[in-house]
Structures are given as structure tokens and as C-alpha cells.
């Protein structure tokens, strides 16, 4: 099954990494320099959080509110890390590297292959994380440099790429009725809260649903 892991990891690396170009464009359009834009991809490396920084800065928000919005979105990477740690079992420098690439996609690929074999799941995590890191940073640079030439990302349909990518990652996790219930509940909650809260917070609020569902339901 290792070939499936490599194929999945590589296709998601290219597909999601390419969206780094859209981030590069959005970030420069929001008023960050090319260097700051590339620094976000290199150091922060969490798409939604990076977009949050650019979005808040672009809307005229303070550095503190940019950090808060970005941090709230990055909180989920901590949950992913807690889920990944028993699988990865890494220490020292490898844990630092693993931490940096603990994102939605690397976690999702690892979890998607976990039932087949733990070795495949680990391979999927590292391949996807490193692959996206490389493509995302390269694409960020290209996007930032070509910001004016590329224009509006929506015009290229890139606005639909990210939700589609998240749907593709969610899909294999919808096997049990409990996970379907959690997903539907999260969608409803995120949409209900969106008009009332700062962008990003409705997503974090979705954590409440697995907390309740996982606590109460017996498996």
C-alpha cells in the first residue's frame, strides 16, 4: 500500500502547495513585503493562519489582532500534534521538524492511512509535510513576485480549491455515524457563528462538538 501513500502525499503536496501562490499574491496585495510574505510561509507554515495574518493586516487590523486571529487558527495544529505524537514517536530535533510540518494535510494523510499500517501513516505524514513545505514556499515566492501579473485568485478558480481540498481530507473520516454527526454539527456551528464572530473563531469553536460528542458517546 506504500505506493498509495506516495501518490496521495505527492498529489496533495502539489495541489495544496500550489495554493501558496495565491497566498503570496494575497499577502503582497494586503501590503506585506515579499520578504515578510516568504517569512510567513517559512516560519508560520499554516495556510489558514497565514491568510489570517494577511487578512487582518489588509483590513487595517493591529499586529496584535493579526497574531490573535492567526494563533486561534494555529491552535488546531496543537491538537493535531497531540494526535500525531503517539504515532510519530520522535524526540529532539526530529520533534522540532515534525512540529513545524504538523498541519491539516499531513495529519489528515497520516490518519487516512493509519488503519492500513502505522509505517504508512508515518511515511504519509513526513512526505506530505515536507512536500507541502517545499511546494508551498516555492509557490509563495512565485506568487509574491508575480502578484500583479496573476491578479485575482478567484478568477482562476483558486477560491474553490481550498474548500475542495478540505472536503477531500474530510471524506475518508466520515465512516462512522458519530464522525458524520460531528461533521454536520461542526458545519452548522461554523455557519451559525460566522456572522457574529471574528473570522477564524467559528472554526475554533467547532472543537466544542467533538468535546461533547466524544465525552458523552460510548464507542
Amino acid at each position: 500500500m506504500s505506493r498509495a501513500v506516495i501518490r496521495d502525499s505527492l498529489s496533495i503536496s502539489i495541489a495544496v502547495g500550489a495554493y501558496g501562490a495565491a497566498f503570496g499574491v494575497a499577502s503582497v496585495a494586503a501590503g506585506l513585503t515579499v520578504l515578510q510574505t516568504c517569512a510567513l510561509s517559512l516560519l508560520l507554515f499554516s495556510g489558514a493562519s497565514q491568510f489570517a495574518v494577511a487578512g487582518v493586516i489588509g483590513a487595517g487590523g493591529s499586529a496584535l489582532s493579526a497574531i490573535a486571529a492567526s494563533g486561534l487558527l494555529a491552535l488546531r495544529n496543537g491538537f493535531y500534534g497531540a494526535r500525531m505524537a503517539p504515532l510519530l514517536k520522535v524526540r529532539g530535533i526530529k520533534r522540532i521538524l515534525a512540529s513545524q510540518i504538523t498541519i491539516d494535510e499531513s495529519t489528515a494523510i497520516a490518519l487516512a492511512h493509519e488503519s492500513e499500517s502505522e509505517a504508512d501513516a508515518r511515511k504519509g505524514f513526513w512526505l506530505t509535510g515536507v512536500g507541502i513545505y517545499l511546494f508551498w514556499n516555492l509557490a509563495t515566492l512565485i506568487g509574491a513576485l508575480g502578484a500583479n501579473a496573476l491578479g485575482d485568485p478567484a478568477q482562476w478558480g483558486l477560491d474553490a480549491t481550498i474548500p475542495a481540498a478540505f472536503l477531500g481530507l474530510l471524506w475518508p473520516r466520515l465512516k462512522s455515524s458519530l464522525s458524520k454527526f460531528v461533521a454536520i454539527g461542526a458545519i452548522a456551528l461554523a455557519l451559525i457563528l460566522t456572522p457574529f464572530l471574528t473570522p477564524g473563531i467559528p472554526i475554533i469553536a467547532c472543537v466544542v462538538i467533538p468535546l461533547i460528542a466524544g465525552w458523552r458517546v460510548r464507542s
Binding site: L43, A74, Y80, G168, I184, A190
Partner: protein, 98 residues
Amino acid sequence: MWTAVIGASVLAFAFKYIGQSIPESVLANPRIARIADLIPTALLAGLVAVQTFADKTTLVIDQRLAGLAVAAIALYLRANFLVMLIAATATSALLHQI
């Protein structure tokens, strides 16, 4: 601006590293393990919803929903991940041109 860039980066790495460093025994509890397993499902579902319907704090229906519908059909037909993404992206791009 650099304050936001560095501050957000440090915070994100701190969350990632703390998450990786939580003692394994915390996850040994079946209830915690089940919750941790369901968290990505909830966040991914929330992300799908927000990234499809939200324009900042407004809910809108636009070409992204058509792209997502095509993605769902592609996934139902067991299409390759990349094929699914290209189909969704092309749908949105096409509708944007009309």
C-alpha cells in the same frame, strides 16, 4: 508588520510543539483518544463550511459552492485527489468567467 509576522509564527510553532509534547498517557484515556480523533473531523468540516460560504463575516453563495459540489461528486465517484481538485477549481474558474 514584522511584529505580526514573527509573533504569529512563534505562537503557531509553540502550539505545534506543545501538542507534539503532550505526554502519551494523556491520550491513553479512551475518552481523550476518541475526542482527539474527532477533532480533525470537526475542524475540517468547519473549514469546508467557512471556506465555502464565508466572505469575512457574511455568508454568501457563489461559485465556490459549485466547485465544492463538483468536488463532492468527484469524491463520491472515487476520483483521484488531484483530479477532484482540478475539477473543483475549473468549475469555479468557469463560473467566474460567466
